[in-house]
Symmetry: C2
Subunit: 309 residues, 2 copies
Amino acid sequence: MAAMAERPSPEYDVVGLGCCCWDLVGIVEHYPGPDDKQPLLELIQQGGGLVATATVTVTRLGGKACFIGRVGDDEWGAKTRQSLVAEGVSVAGLQVMEGHTSQVAICIAHGTGGQRTIMYKYGSWPLMEAGDVPRRLVVSGKVLLLDLHHPRAALQAARWAQQAGIPTVVDIERPGPHVDELLALADYPVVPERFACRYGGSDDLGLAARRFLDLHPRALVVTQGERGCTAFVDDQVIYQPAFPVQPLVDTTGAGDVFHGAFAYGLALGYDLPYNLRFAAAVAALKCRKLGGRAGIPTMNEVLRLLDGT
Amino acid sequence: MAAMAERPSPEYDVVGLGCCCWDLVGIVEHYPGPDDKQPLLELIQQGGGLVATATVTVTRLGGKACFIGRVGDDEWGAKTRQSLVAEGVSVAGLQVMEGHTSQVAICIAHGTGGQRTIMYKYGSWPLMEAGDVPRRLVVSGKVLLLDLHHPRAALQAARWAQQAGIPTVVDIERPGPHVDELLALADYPVVPERFACRYGGSDDLGLAARRFLDLHPRALVVTQGERGCTAFVDDQVIYQPAFPVQPLVDTTGAGDVFHGAFAYGLALGYDLPYNLRFAAAVAALKCRKLGGRAGIPTMNEVLRLLDGT
C-alpha cells in the first residue's frame, strides 16, 4: 500500500477501460422468425457497451467517472462520445480513431421475461495496446473497472492499478485471450454464472468458484440474472437475491450496470454484503426502461428501494 | 382520354405516393436465436420504403420522379428526406410532420438464399387523407405509383390519375382496408405471389389471377422472387424467369425496385413483355449489394445484362 500513499488524491471514483458502443434498441411482441416481417413496438438509440454503461452508472449515482476506450470518427462514434459527455463521464481517455467505424449493436427485447437478442458490429480500429493506455488516468481513480474489449491494454492497466494499490473490478463474459492473466490480477472478478461454471469447469457453482479463488481475489462475484448474485470469499458464500422489478421492460445492460454500481460501492467504502445488495438494487431498477442506460437510477431511487425492503 | 390532352406535358416520368422509411440493414451469418448474441458482418443505414425506393429506382435509371408521403421532424426523417434529395427525387410532395417520429426499419439479411427478417416502427404522424394529396403533383407524371401506406390518400390519387388518363401501378403486399377499391382503380396491380393467391382465393395462380382480371386492369403482374414474375392479360399469360444474380447479397427492396423499374418502363413506352424483362433485370442487379437501394443499377448496367442474355 506504500504506492497508494504516494499518489495524489483520486480524481475519480471509478476509472473504466473497455467497450463503448452505440445501441439501437427495439421491442417486439414476439421475436420474429428468420423470414418474418414484424412491427417494432418501440425503437430507441442510446449509448451502450460494458464499461461505458458502467461508468454512466457511476455518474448517475452521483459519483465521478472517467472512460478509456476507442470510437471511430463516424456518426455512431460521435453519438457514443456525446452519450458519455451528456452523463458527466470524463472522455479524457476516449480515443477518436480517424478513418474508422465505431462499434454498434442492435438489441431486440422481446417476451415478458426480459429476453433479448443482440447483434453487434465491432469498430474497424485496431485494439488498444499496452502502449496506448494513459497511466495517469488509470491511477487517478479509487477503483479501476475493466472488460476484455482491449485485452492487452486491460492487462497493462491492471498492472498499474496493482502497483498503485487500486482495487480492480473485472467484467469477463466469455473465455478469450489473456483471461487467465487478467483474472490473476483482478481483486474482484464479477462474472455471469454461465462463464463462472465454464471457466471453473463445473456445473456446481461452489466447485467452479474454487478455480477463481485459487487466484486469490478479494472476492469472486457471480451474477445470476433474475436469481440474484453470489459472492465467494475464502470459505464464505454470500447470496443476494434479485430485487423484483415491475414492470420488467428490458434486461439489456443489467450486468453492465451491476458492475458500475459494484465498483462505485467499493469507492464509497461499502462492505461486501451491502455492496452486493446495493448493486443488485441498481441493476434491478435499470430494467424498468428500454435500453441499457435509460433506466439507470439516481442514488435517491436506490435508497428508496433499499429502505423499502 | 380527353382529360389527358388537357393537362400540360408531364413534369415527371413517375410520381409515387406511399411509404418512405429509414432502414438499418445488417448481415449475420446465421439468424440469431431469441436469446443469442451474435456478430454483424456488416451494418449500414440507408433510405427505404416501398414507393420511396421505387422512385429512387426511376432516377437511378435516368428518369424523373417525385415522391409524395410523410416523415416526422426527427433525425430519421431528415435522413429519409435527404436520401431522396441526394438521388434527385423531387420531395415537393414530402410532408415533414412537426413533433412526430418517422418510420424506421431494422432489416437483418442472413443465409445464402437472400433471406431477411424485417422489424419496422411506424411513424407517429396521422395517415394522409384524401384532402392531404396535392392534385397538381399527382397529375404531373406519366405514370402514378401507389402503395397502401396511406390508403385513403392513395385512393384519391388513383381517382385523379384515372380522370387524367394516367396509368396507375399499385403495389399491394397484404390484405387491408381499401384494397378492393384501389385494385378496382389500378391499371397494373403488381403484387407478390403470396398475396395474389390469398386475395384470389386459390393456390393455383392462374385461378387466383381471375379475381384480379374481373376488375379489368390492363395487366396483373405477379412477382415470384427467385422464380421471376408472371403477367396475366385477358387470357394471355407471360412468364419471365428471374435473372441469376452473383453474388446474391440481399433481396431487401427487390420488390420495390421491380415496381419502380416497371413504372418507369411504362413511362418509356416499353411493351409488356419487354417491360417485365426490364424490371426483372433491374431487380436482380439490386440484389448484388446490401440494403434496398445501394445496388439499384444505372440504365447502362441494365442494358449490359439484357444484351448479354
